[in-house]
Symmetry: D3
Subunit: 205 residues, 6 copies
């Protein structure tokens, strides 16, 4: 199976579907990840070179997870909902032909996540499995319709998140939160740790 994960900023993918990607690798699936911005703001003031640093962290995390990643050059907090953005993803999708795509949840307080979700949905018209992952900024109305057991991979997932060192103390807090979230999704699906997804489209064929 060929898998594509799309995120707005470095660490979004690790948080939302890092365990799922590790499972894909464990069963031999091919995994590529696209990060639309370098996360130059990091949620705070713009720091010079932050995007470059965060992109390096994304590569370190990808190496740990044994997946391929590339950072695109959209501006943090300003990802545009344009035909150009749709088309850029579409070209990649047409070349790579993924069987499954992971994208941010469409209802989120962070505009970048909403735009990334919309743009990806438009670009992935022909993909059979589109799963929306959740993040701390997702609205509480996120109702999982698909769960992936990540129990064997959860520690590596957390290691990958920790590699985003520029995020510092914030990152440690995130890990506690994400552990609570993954325990809850495990609780819903009767395993120890799980990631939950909303299936925008999911065709068994």
């Amino acid at each position: 199976m060929k898998v594509l994960a799309i995120g707005s900023h470095p660490d979004d993918i690790e948080i939302g579907c890092g365990g799922a990607l590790l499972r894909h690798r464990a069963v031999g699936d091919q995994v590529r990840a696209i990060v639309l911005t370098g996360g130059g703001r990091g949620g705070e003031e713009v720091t010079n070179n932050l995007a470059a640093t965060r992109c390096q962290e994304a590569h370190a995390a990808a190496k740990l997870m044994d997946i391929e990643v590339e950072c695109w050059d959209y501006q943090d907090t300003e990802i545009p909902e344009t035909f150009e953005a749709v088309q850029r993803i579409e070209k990649l999708v047409e070349a790579y032909k993924p069987d499954r795509v992971y994208i941010p949840y469409g209802q989120d307080t962070h505009q970048d996540h909403r735009v990334t979700s919309n743009v990806a949905k438009s670009a992935c018209r022909k993909v059979k499995q589109i799963l929306e992952y959740e993040e701390p900024s997702s609205y509480n109305s996120f109702n999982a319709t698909y769960w992936i057991d990540i129990t064997p991979y959860v520690q590596t997932k957390f290691e990958a998140i920790k590699l985003h060192e520029s995020q510092g103390h914030k990152q440690i807090l995130k890990i506690k939160s994400i552990e609570g979230l993954n325990l809850y999704r495990g609780y819903q699906s009767h395993v120890e740790y799980a990631e939950g997804f909303v299936t925008f489209r999911f065709l068994e064929s």
Copy 2:
């Protein structure tokens, strides 16, 4: 994979997930079906021996689909939402250990369908994949979260529905409706014919 389908009346399963069951058989999965009532009313006045006739039709359809079926003896329009009913299904589930269970959608104008759905959800606490299928009596609020491509199996599905001959003319109308429904679910998932499901629980593991 071991699959279990639960229905309230003969022909419910064929209509709601007949194509999916045929796909399971095509890929070598084991399939068992349980029909909780003989459908003695058939939606109209009670006719003597109707339940026996309809149960025979269920067996004929099952033979065509190459699956196992058994009819239970609850009364049509009076399936009880009781601990006994939960337990009876639970015992079967514990012995058979299905990987996936198909059940009626919980929001339906027909009380039997609602009760069957509830009772099955309680009985299948430990099953990893529970999919709710739709029927003509399901509420319009049915929003599919999972689709199965049934294009290669749709004609056999309709043949199986036609084997419920006691339902006569009504059955022919149903087939036209079901074709429209399966075309629509195909339209949503970008194939010709599909069945749509609501994932009450679905764990990838």
Copy 3:
């Protein structure tokens, strides 16, 4: 009754509410349609003069359906959610005073459709009947609350869609999809073919 239909691109209106408009004409209602863009992209690369061609097709389809249409000059994929756009529609609404307005569904993967829907809702504050129509790009969460029987008009509807010849092969696929959709909405409302709508507002008075 005076009816107004608003679409983002040529053929959106025919697909989403073409049957309904034909019914309105059949009972003597007045029907006007506004297409906000010429659809210069047609979903692919920009082709020179495509907007002009598509607008001519819209007029041919309108002639077949015996309705009035005008194409506005917003840019395909860039319809702006601005006061100016609201006001432009509002002026038309205040002059024409429609009893019913058909607009795109607000939850859609295509940004133009979402913007058109929002802008139209703002502009039609005083209209008593506002119905959102569905398109292939509408989210699956579209739950119809109003159905219109289009059985006598469905072939003419498909003829009108076919007149959008510049869309070529894509259009033929669309028609199969739309037929599945209209069969399904018929299935829900117990007729052969229907169009389904979400009533943003609907006052019986």
Copy 4:
């Protein structure tokens, strides 16, 4: 147009769709109402003969509204969700052939209202317009999808509710509440007073 209104207890219909029924009469439609119980509890202790009294009040209100009403003999708080109940309504529907049916909203704290709503939905399979009306006991999740302007009829509606004299002081409080509700539905639909409905099914044909 032939209209049927179904209620659980005397005064439910007046409260939920009394204004709509008055509008139907004003435009010459035929209106029949069925009350499934005599309301023998009246929400409190059972009082001897209360059902008979309340049924007389229902007739007085019906006379004022110029509609036909009949009280059935199900027990207050014990309306059964059975095939027999479905069939009894179904027979009436097949004889009367209503174009539109008003029924209680399916999500309600009062079990009688939920059962009446379910049973009516099953019995009205072939009716083209089924509207669920709201009552003080309806869940707050009631989201109107259809509004009827009752401004010219609202005073007569309140008079009809007042004729349920056995409900005494409680009734006066209800009228204040209902006025607030009808003002709100008017506010949503841009008239002074309106009743709001959820369209379980609504076919324009």
Copy 5:
């Protein structure tokens, strides 16, 4: 403030709102709990005297939590949705006059929980704050609208759950689940541990 908690079986209340009740006690609120059945089945075969044992456990847990509890005598898995049940709770409510009532969530795979929720909603017509709590059997569609920080009380909550010793090994598993759930609700509301609720009604006055 006077608080009432209503549960179907011993340990339901501790699981769903045990932390909230401990917080109420910590700030000096009065807390009463009603358990509608003795839980004679305990989810498995009926064991003689199980209801009596479980009721004693409920009292032990209540003592630890410093709240008052009483077990009623409805039959496990057979709580009736009747006027009698509504009235029995209503009398208690009218005598005790609680400011806030905690009840099970209305959408649950366990029929007892659904019936308890419905009956309580009818009986608490005049209560200003009604919060639905969640349990492992609640549907995943539970979307919290109110959170209570239980961080200081979470260990005592788990101690109280453990006092239901007759539930044995099952109980230990439950605690792990509940911890995941409470971490998740904390994650949503930005504290360490929280309980989440759906506000059926909540009036600030």
Copy 6:
């Protein structure tokens, strides 16, 4: 308690949560209000100096309500969903440290209201109580999850709305509407007048 109210235009706050703010003042809470634009369009053509006039009216209303207000300088109908806007609110929130924030409802026909709601949600990550208020332009899907009894304050609320004199006749119509709305929310929560809110987040701690 420290309270912050955020609105898009002068009079939005008074309409959506004016009664709640008056209650806060009555119990001694501190209340600050921020209006993001001067409302220079007033829903119609731009009139010179209108923003200045409307801002004065906002101050007059604030004086009557005994709260603090400031008008910001975003352009009416053009509030930007940008990092800058988030940050500007965030700074205020970090300095003022409100316990509760009132914001517009996120689903609204008016783009300014949607943007204000999104931007405020991002900026108030650390606020424990975020309540979305409703306005005439809110979608009908607004389902209150929190109610505040404003019976003693409703006349003052209307006085405050009337002080927006530049809105002239439109304002009088609004007051009738708002009264219907507040009566309805009172009806839902069993008091005379109430304001309803959607709790985006609400932590009791």
